[in-house]
């Protein structure tokens, strides 16, 4: 068995792991990163990036179809468009491949040694990796667990055949005639919407009383409306039971009443679970918080020298949270004084229209016992939104009533994902309503709605 030693070992080359490794490399730390599949993790290979590629392709195709249908306000017309999904998927794979190569190159540039294979803890300082060329033992002074998360399977509907997870949904060779999506969370709605735009008949099956339950009703209302326009059926308070391959239908129970949903494929998106098995974590038996590895404000686990970052450490399971943790841990290992001091972790839901949240929602702020002011500005009153057929949605700002400190910003609308930057910057910088109201926002852009929402909270919105 080959044996190497290093200062820092990172297990998992997803966004958290590869950022930790790159930053550690930059800081001159002797770093090894282990990945059993491809660099980039869920995000780059089967998550954020490929799903956004598919969503974009679906949106483009849908616009063409809308134009072809003749119901087009812009006066466009064209003959019946078609899509070759295999070609689309190949294009998406090309992007993923470029990014894989990019991450690998960045790791190399930072002087990080990459080991491909499945890692397994031997003890708190030693990890064995099964590589193609045999067992490799790695001894490290510090270890970062960045093993990420995996889709949750339903016991009655195990993955395989027509029952697919988000991973398989991103690599289908043809557009299924009908698709049942179990789980009305953001992953299910993003992919369900994309397939509806590609031509599938999509049904959403959600056990709770409404879709996107983590968002308030105001934010999800435009999504619900759009789902209807796209012909997507939504069954809330409905529990999926079983799938019959012969009839090609999903059996479910809606308020105690049995229903059948036609489904060539069934996409199960009922959540993600941390990957805490299969790599010998039981050998070191770290403390947990529920299913997740328990960490402190420096991402330290219960064992000295072992850190954990990203999805394996808890909600929100977001790539940019993992990246920020990874960067912080690398600097801590390098001896810098760091601790988690972020005020907000923005979250984007790439539905149609998109949702952005950063900081506290009105309900969360009230629950914290804070007296708040809210300013909400609709895109209907935004010139730029009108010119892009993007009048649905609004920007909403939540601030303290006493000193106008901005606590949270939410938006729903077309392309609002790009506004997330200014939302989070405002919160991190400790902006007050007056700061946002007093910043000139370029005209004509959707961002004006952000400024107007602050003005509205101050009681003097100009365009409404």
């Amino acid at each position: 068995m080959k044996e190497i030693s290093c200062k820092l070992l990172v297990i998992g080359a997803g966004p958290g792991g590869y950022i930790a490794a790159i930053r550690a490399g930059q800081l001159g730390i002797d770093t090894v990163i282990v990945e059993k599949a491809k660099a980039g993790g869920t995000c780059l290979n089967v998550g954020c990036i490929p799903s956004k590629a598919l969503i974009h392709a679906a949106e483009e195709f849908h616009k063409l179809r809308a134009a072809a249908s003749g119901r087009n306000p812009l006066g466009l017309s064209l003959a019946n468009p078609s899509i070759d999904l295999a070609h689309t998927v190949a294009w998406k794979d090309g992007i993923v491949g470029r990014l894989n190569g990019g991450v690998t190159g960045l790791l190399k540039k930072a002087g990080v040694k990459a080991v491909i294979g499945a890692a397994r803890f031997v003890d708190g300082k030693t990890v064995d990796v099964e590589t193609e060329i045999g067992l490799q033992r790695i001894r490290a002074e510090a270890i970062v667990i960045a093993t990420g998360s995996a889709p949750v399977e339903l016991p009655d509907l195990p993955f395989g055949g027509p029952i697919i997870s988000s991973t398989e949904a991103l690599s289908l060779k043809s557009v299924p005639k009908s698709l049942a999506v179990i789980g009305g969370g953001y992953i299910g709605l993003e992919l369900g919407t994309a397939f509806a735009k590609l031509g599938s008949h999509v049904t959403i099956v959600e056990a709770l009383t409404r879709i996107l339950p983590q968002y308030d009703a105001d934010l999800t209302k435009p999504i619900g409306k759009r789902l209807g326009e796209l012909g997507i059926e939504v069954f809330t308070q409905t529990v999926a039971k079983s799938y019959s391959a012969e009839t090609g239908s999903l059996h479910a129970e809606h308020n105690g009443r049995a229903i059948d949903v036609a489904a060539e494929k069934v996409l199960v998106t009922v959540g993600r679970k941390p990957v805490t098995e299969g790599f010998g974590l039981e050998e070191i038996d770290l403390d947990r918080t529920g299913r997740f590895i328990r960490i402190d404000d420096q991402c330290r686990t219960s064992m000295r020298g072992i850190y954990a970052i990203g999805d394996v450490t808890g909600e929100p399971m977001l790539a940019h949270r993992a990246m920020a943790q990874g960067e912080m841990v690398a600097e801590i290992v390098a001896g810098h004084k760091r601790s988690w001091d972020k005020r907000c972790i923005p979250a984007v839901c790439f539905t149609d229209p998109e949702i952005v949240t950063s900081g506290l929602s009105p309900d969360e702020a009230r629950a914290s016992g804070i007296e708040i002011k809210i300013g909400q500005f609709p895109f209907q009153a935004n010139g730029r939104a009108m010119t892009t057929l993007a009048e649905d949605g609004f920007v909403r700002i939540v601030a303290r009533a006493d000193n106008h400190l901005v606590l949270g910003i939410q938006a729903v609308g077309h392309g609002v994902s790009e506004l997330s930057a200014s939302f989070s910057l405002a919160i991190e910088m400790g902006a007050r309503l007056e700061d946002i109201a007093g910043t000139i926002h370029a005209h004509p852009t959707q961002s004006e709605a952000f400024q107007e929402s602050a003005l509205k909270a101050l009681g003097h919105a100009l365009h409404i």
């Binding site: 003890d123 708190g124 300082k125 039981e282 050998e283 070191i284 038996d285 770290l286 328990r294 960490i295 402190d296 404000d297 420096q298 991402c299 686990t301 219960s302 064992m303 000295r304 020298g305 072992i306 450490t313 808890g314 909600e315 929100p316 949270r321 943790q325 912080m328 810098h336 004084k337 760091r338 601790s339 988690w340 001091d341 972020k342 005020r343 907000c344 972790i345 506290l360 969360e364 629950a367 914290s368 804070i370 303290r400 000193n403 106008h404 400190l405 991190e428 910088m429 400790g430 007050r432 007056e434 700061d435």
Partner: protein, 427 residues
């Protein structure tokens, strides 16, 4: 019947291995749930490992003194039923899941805060999950760049007054705070109140000493007996022997004589040279005399053991004593050299005072404390004569040693020390 494997638990400080210092069971022993199986020691603490199951010990995975990696199999226990091979519950049941944390220095805050309220410098920080709503609002209002500078400068921003909008802390505020902190405090006029409290975590050897002392004094009803010993004759003998010693012989202190006298006394009074196992109620009366010598080291009290004093002459005792004292002081003494005593001598030398109340080295039953030797006037019947007088303060486990026997033991010791020739007479 099934088998249950207990693995070395994570003793809670993130260490990868720990030293097995004591077995409480041996193969074949029946064990009950929660019964202590073994004790392991990390560099910081000794932790007892309880049994999570009831059954019979089949196999022990290490010997005392072995270093065992965390999660290595430690004990196999035969149990009724299916059995399992992992014991995740063990960790939670650790009797003393060590909770060492770096000592947090608590001190009075810098000038901005009220001078009478001690403020913890280390902020209670939220976990890195980022959605601890309440915590977020307690944070000082400052931009990420200001926060980073504060962190690197070791400044708790909650102590910095912000002059920006809504009390936001600006770079200037931080600069001023740091500049103020760097200035020497104004020279105090007269006596000042001090409000700082240093919190010192009891760890390592200090913790072991604390545990051992609590054990001894809570379990053992001590009887302490003090007697005066005229050391004049012994001191004369010692002076002569030291003057005439060979180059390879060490300089003799009182201790080697006392050790030899102890050996002679124990021959007549074997009850004091024993280990009392008060669980099953068995006294192990040892024929060997292993004398522990309480020794002060930079880290604290340790007790190196002169083994088989009964088989050592006075010079040999002195040589071994010097070697062990040096090993203990430099921290190179092995586990064998620090355990296994059957009786202990405690001596504070020149700081010996008149009387001490020695604490018995559990589970032994006797300890002999040496007090300071001083020239005192003694009435010899016609006049006062200067004599070298030294007290012996000795404690006994009153459960197994009666006061009478304790007195007889000390009187016998006194006789030997006052007439040192008796120490050397063939028995």
């Amino acid at each position: 019947m099934g088998e249950f494997v207990i693995k070395m638990p994570d003793v809670g400080e993130g260490v990868a291995e720990a030293e097995l210092v004591e077995w409480h069971v041996k193969p074949g022993d029946p064990v009950r749930e929660d019964m202590v199986l073994a004790a392991v020691m990390t560099d910081k603490a000794t932790v007892e490992i309880p049994s999570p199951v009831t059954g019979t010990v089949l196999w022990l995975g290490a010997e005392v003194g072995d270093t065992v990696a965390v999660k290595a199999p430690l004990v196999r226990i035969e149990i009724a039923g299916e059995g399992e091979t992992a014991a995740p519950a063990v960790d939670n049941k650790l009797a003393a899941k060590a909770e060492e944390q770096p000592a947090v220095k608590v001190e009075a805050p810098a000038p901005v805060a009220k001078p009478t309220q001690p403020v913890k410098v280390e902020a209670k920080a939220p976990i890195a999950n980022g959605h601890a709503t309440g915590e977020r609002l307690e944070k000082a209002l400052a931009s990420p760049a200001v926060r980073l500078r504060a962190k690197e400068s070791g400044v708790d921003l909650r102590q910095v007054a912000g002059t920006g909008p809504a009390g936001r802390i600006t770079h200037d505020d931080l600069d001023q705070f740091i500049a103020r902190g760097a200035q020497p405090a104004p020279a105090p006029a007269g006596l000042q109140r001090k409000t700082a409290v240093d919190e010192i975590k009891v760890t390592g050897l200090r913790r072991r000493i604390a545990e051992k002392m609590s054990l001894s004094t809570s379990r053992i009803p001590h009887i302490t007996y003090v007697e005066e010993v005229d050391m004049t004759a012994l001191e004369d003998l010692r002076t002569t022997m030291n003057r005439d010693r060979k180059p390879d012989q060490p300089k003799l202190t009182i201790l080697p004589y006392l050790m030899r006298a102890l050996v002679r006394t124990i021959a007549d009074q074997p009850a004091v040279n024993a280990i009392f196992d008060d669980g099953p109620g068995i006294i192990h009366r040892h024929h060997a005399v292993h004398i522990g010598i309480a020794t002060q080291t930079p880290a604290g009290l340790t007790v190196p053991v002169v083994r088989h004093a009964e088989a050592r002459g006075i010079w040999d005792c002195a040589t071994e004593l010097n070697r062990l004292a040096e090993a203990a002081r430099t921290g190179t003494a092995t586990r064998d050299e620090l355990t296994g005593s059957t009786i202990t001598i405690s001596s504070l030398g020149a700081l010996g005072g008149i009387v001490t109340t020695p604490v018995i080295n559990h589970p032994e039953v006797a300890i002999v404390g040496v007090n300071k030797l001083a020239i005192r006037p003694v009435w010899d019947g016609t006049q006062f004569v200067p004599r070298k007088i030294m007290n012996l303060s000795s404690s006994f486990d009153h459960r197994v040693i009666d006061g009478w026997d304790a007195a007889v033991f000390v009187q016998r010791l006194k006789t030997l020390l006052e007439t040192p020739a008796l120490i050397f007479v063939e028995a």
